[in-house]
Symmetry: C2
Subunit: 197 residues, 2 copies
């Protein structure tokens, strides 16, 4: 967990604000002038940092998918010899952290994929598919009774459960971050267990 201490670059500011706005009002519902205004510059100034509005969305979505996949691979690698159920817990924990800390990105991730150019969309889909398959393998190790299509459906459903964080009331709702994370974790485990029965 190499925490950043230096100030965010302008590019990063733009991406962050664009993610928030895209998540709030949809890709087509946000104008470049608004994105510019959100970082204190106005409209066409953005073109000094990005080739266009599409490029911002592409960078966001590729970044998310890559980050999720990289984190999951790292977790699998670190867990060598530990029980598969523990590995699954680690995957769940990682996904929850992401869903709680980057809600706009989680929202974009499954909502604006179709606004991408063909080449970018294929890349994102490939990263997403790898991420899913990695989960499916672990789940099937823990619950050998599951067929592969059933396991895949179960994984997608649990993603739906974990990605519900944007609907869970604004941060500072009652259970607090730790409580929410624990609740989601329990429910995900319970859902998988029920699927495997």
């Amino acid at each position: 967990m190499a925490t950043r201490t230096d100030a965010p670059t302008r590019r990063e500011q733009i991406l962050k604000e664009a993610a928030r706005l895209f998540a709030e009002r949809g890709f087509h519902g946000v104008g470049v002038d608004e994105i510019g205004a959100a970082v204190g510059i106005s409209g066409p100034g953005l073109y000094r940092h990005f080739a266009g509005k599409d490029a911002m969305l592409a960078e966001l979505l590729v970044g998310i998918s890559g980050q999720l996949l990289t984190g999951a691979k790292r977790r699998l690698q670190e867990a060598d010899g530990v029980p598969a159920a523990t590995v699954l817990d680690s995957l769940i924990e990682g996904h929850i952290d992401f869903a709680l800390d980057d809600r706009p990105l989680i929202t974009l991730h499954d909502r604006e994929l179709d606004r991408l150019r063909d080449t970018d969309r294929k890349l994102v889909r490939q990263l997403q598919r790898q991420y899913v398959e990695l989960w499916v393998e672990v789940v099937r190790t823990v619950y050998p009774g599951l067929t592969e299509p059933t396991a895949r459906s179960a994984v997608h459903s649990v993603f739906g459960l974990l990605n519900s964080t944007p609907h869970l009331g604004r941060p500072g709702s009652l259970p607090g971050r730790a409580g929410t994370a624990a609740l989601l974790h329990r429910m995900a485990r319970g859902a998988f267990a029920a699927a495997g029965a």
Copy 2:
């Protein structure tokens, strides 16, 4: 279950195609010409049936929320004296039926709410809130250990799980409709049980 046998009206055709297109490409990503073309008329002909593009979305979202709430109320009413766990099963079953049979509507339901005019949005939110509160009451009866905020979070999360149907591969993926419904039902029950522990 009063099954319709008569042909759909033009209004209904338009709503159905609009729902599909909105779900696929987002409200702002679809033009009125496309919606018209999808039902064989072109562009401004739609204005013989709807006041505008906004009105189509409003009617769709109000219809969805109302239908979900009405169905849930009916299920609660029919179940008098039966155990709360059975009532919860009935709610889950109803939601799954809707999620499996009207995927585009489920997608719209939590995605395009913010594109509505203030008055319509408030109405839809009120219907949604009633629906959630109804679930929360039943869930807390089955699992009395849950605080109200925790139960509400659990309900939202299970909605996320059930509403994942659009990601579950196109209809005709392997487990078939009945198998998918059964899987989702088991997982929802397992998730609630884990939340209540």
